[in-house]
């Protein structure tokens, strides 16, 4: 159990790096954004893994609830709600850029775009 208690954080690291790898190596702009999505999702996992308390429940306290219920930590949840919104906003803006790049250059591969810019 001791070892498995860190499994979430390892998966966080692996997902983070899968995303980063895709962003660096893939020349396709859409694929870069997909990689960025995975990269950001990994961070959500890091934060949400912090909030868990063994034997706890979601932090919703009904009126007149018993005192001895354990609740998970609400703060990382609030932060990640914001981060998810930020993520989708960035993705939407990036996709709009991809569409415009496709219209302006006829391709969405970074290497081709760079060589077209160089020829200009």
């Amino acid at each position: 159990m001791e070892i498995l208690g860190l499994y979430n954080y390892w998966v966080f690291a692996i997902l983070l790096l899968i995303g980063l790898y895709a962003v660096i190596t893939k020349p396709n702009f859409t694929k870069k954004l997909i990689g960025l999505n995975i990269f950001q999702a990994a961070i959500f996992l890091l934060y949400i893994s912090m909030d868990k308390v063994d034997g706890g429940t979601a932090p919703i306290i009904p009126h007149g609830a018993a005192k001895d219920i354990i609740y998970s930590n609400p703060v990382p949840q609030v932060l990640i709600l914001t981060a998810i919104v930020v993520g989708i906003s960035t993705t939407a803006l990036g996709l709009a850029l991809v569409v415009r790049i496709r219209e302006a250059y006829g391709t969405i591969e970074e290497d081709k775009v760079i060589s077209m810019d160089r020829d200009q």
Partner: protein, 495 residues
Amino acid sequence: MLAAQYPVLPVIVPLLSAPIAALMPNRSLAWIMASLVSALVFATAVALTVIVSAQGMISYEVGGWPAPYGIEVRVDSFSVVMLLVISGASTLALISGKASIDAQIPSDRQPLFFAAWLLALAAYSGIAVAGDAFNIFVFMEISSLAGYVLIANGPDRRALPATFKYLVMGTIGASFYLIGVGLAYMMTGTLNIADLHARLGDVPYLRPILLSAAFVTIGLAVKAAVFPLHVWMPNAYARAPSAVAVFLSACSTKAAVYVMLRFDFMIFGGAFAHHDVQFSTVLMSLALLGMLIGSAVAIYERDVKRMLGYSSVGQIGYILLGASMISLGGVSAGVIHMFNHAMIKGGLFLAMGALVLRLGGGTLDDLKGAGRTMPWTMGAFVLLGLSLIGMPLTAGFISKWYLVQAALDLGTLGIVLIAAILISSLMAVVYIWRVVEVAYFQSPQAGASKHQEAPLMMLVPLWAVVLANVYFGLDPSIPVDLATNAANILLEHAK
């Protein structure tokens, strides 16, 4: 009554006006609104400067909740330096930018453009006054997204891949910052900057904190275009609309450096032993490389806006060099240079905006003979260039003077640093000279006779910046006092 609310006015006023500006039926109305709001923020910044100089730090509880539970807004001498830079650059860029914005952006897109501008202004101000680590992330993302929108509106298609690169690297930088904040939160349970500082020292485990410091510093280094993470920056500035280049060159990287200094001095500085040594070793070497390589690349660049972008890579190096000395003199020299460089680079991009507006392009070939057709603009460019090089009687000299003085206290290492500063300044002489040479000593291209001087609405703000450069070169007491106070605050926490 309102005076107590000054700390949040630079944020809430532009936020309230952005949705209205976006729906304006007419481009001039949107421009007037953005300029007025920007001027108002500048006025608030001046008022805050006066208050902070008189009373010291102001703490403001958003939502009325006490500090570690609610979000704190905190204004000190360092914040007001940033606020003055941000609101001043925004106001000057808007006032001078009317003609170039009209020339570069279709009129039906302009209300959206000005709304994005106001959002960027609000967000940069939000970063400057933030006292909460996660709150900085939120405003950093607004500022970045608004920045992408502003740059993507650039005049030709090359703005699009430049923006995309900025978007990808900016998001990675912000996400690294978010990871770092998460790790610090994991080990302390708080997000408030002052509270983090107080609690990080008691954490028994070192590795998560080290990891946190590394992620925050690297993430912000990407955003600050610290060498070698600067690859997004020259193109982003060069392809942006001229007015946007003025605004962003003065604010975007500075805001990231500002947050980096806050974190590394005020949070991690006191948290564990040797942080100052690690910070200064890593950053000093990067700063030196940036100063030398950035300036060297700038020499070979034929597009003047890209040249200025690479020059900024070098100038960020000066700021970090000052900070990495971890002494009162060094840190205040860095902060002075943040202020002065924003003024110089903003002014240079302003001059470039005027040149591009009249000449149609910003490469060295386009600039041939500009010294004769546009004497006032080129004159301002030259004076600002001298300030960038660090000629006495200009603001640029003051920052280098303080930097050299701080380096002298370091003994042998200081001599090396001074040599690097001199070499980098000499390279600045070379790249500025190349512009001067084509502008004054080469005959204009065919058909250039119809070129005329830039409109008065651009020349007046441009020369205001030039005069400010000279004024702060003769009497630097305002930035120096503010910077010394800021350095005192930073170093006090680092102990």
